[in-house]
Symmetry: C2
Subunit: 143 residues, 2 copies
């Protein structure tokens, strides 16, 4: 009479969420970073000196979440805050030398993580999965 809960896409996504976050956590904590911090660092490596609100928008996270993550990065001296001269409301986030230096290591760890994840699939499957996930992300309100 009742549906097959475990076979819904929503269920599978939820399960993958938890599993993937655990794997990500293990993968990056060698570098002294936590899972959420990695995404902020990648964004800063692309463009240093962003405002918090822009980081939030590009990462698809709420401003308080970004603020909290930055707190940890500041404590560990990966980034610094600096007031933006033209606008006293916003602060700009800059990479420290330590934050810049860690990039290579993190990229290698990310590549290893990617190889691990992809190893469960064939090349075709991996490509297809990426395309399907990207298609879901095009509708942020639906995922």
């Amino acid at each position: 009479m009742f549906m097959n809960f475990e076979n819904t896409l929503s269920f599978l996504l939820a399960k993958v969420t938890v599993a993937h976050r655990n794997t990500l956590q293990k993968s990056v904590n060698e570098s002294g970073l936590h899972s959420g911090q990695v995404f902020v660092m990648f964004e800063l490596w692309k463009s240093d000196g962003q405002r918090q609100i822009d980081l939030a928008l590009r990462l698809g996270l709420s401003p308080p979440t970004v603020n909290k993550i930055l707190g940890g990065l500041l404590e560990n001296d990966f980034v610094t805050r600096a007031k933006y001269e033209d606008d006293a409301r916003s602060t700009r986030i800059f990479l420290t030398p330590k934050g810049k230096a860690i990039r290579g290591q993190l990229e290698l760890q990310w590549i290893k993580l990617e190889e691990q994840t992809v190893s469960a699939l064939t090349d075709t499957e991996a490509l297809m999965l990426k395309q399907l996930l990207a298609k879901l992300l095009e509708r942020p309100e639906l995922v």
Copy 2:
């Protein structure tokens, strides 16, 4: 010189899962439940009176996580705890009438959520995505 971070499977999975959890949260909070509680309830509907450790194993969650989620369900009178006669260590979790009554509503909401999610894809794509996610989940240590 550096990799295309946004095009890795690991990145896409991380993004999709955050987005999906937000959608799930909105979907189920009409019923008075939170996102994590839903999975425990579905598990109890399948088999009432389980021990916490068995819930944790079947859900793929840590025992403290299940314990915390059950705290909320107990407070809101969706479940009750009862000692297992043969073993003083474990407790068994039972659905209350309120917990049993909410099943139909939750199932409908889940179906709506599923339709929403799947609507971004064709039938073939949705089926394929489910199969690929399921394949990833077969290797819990890799996702």
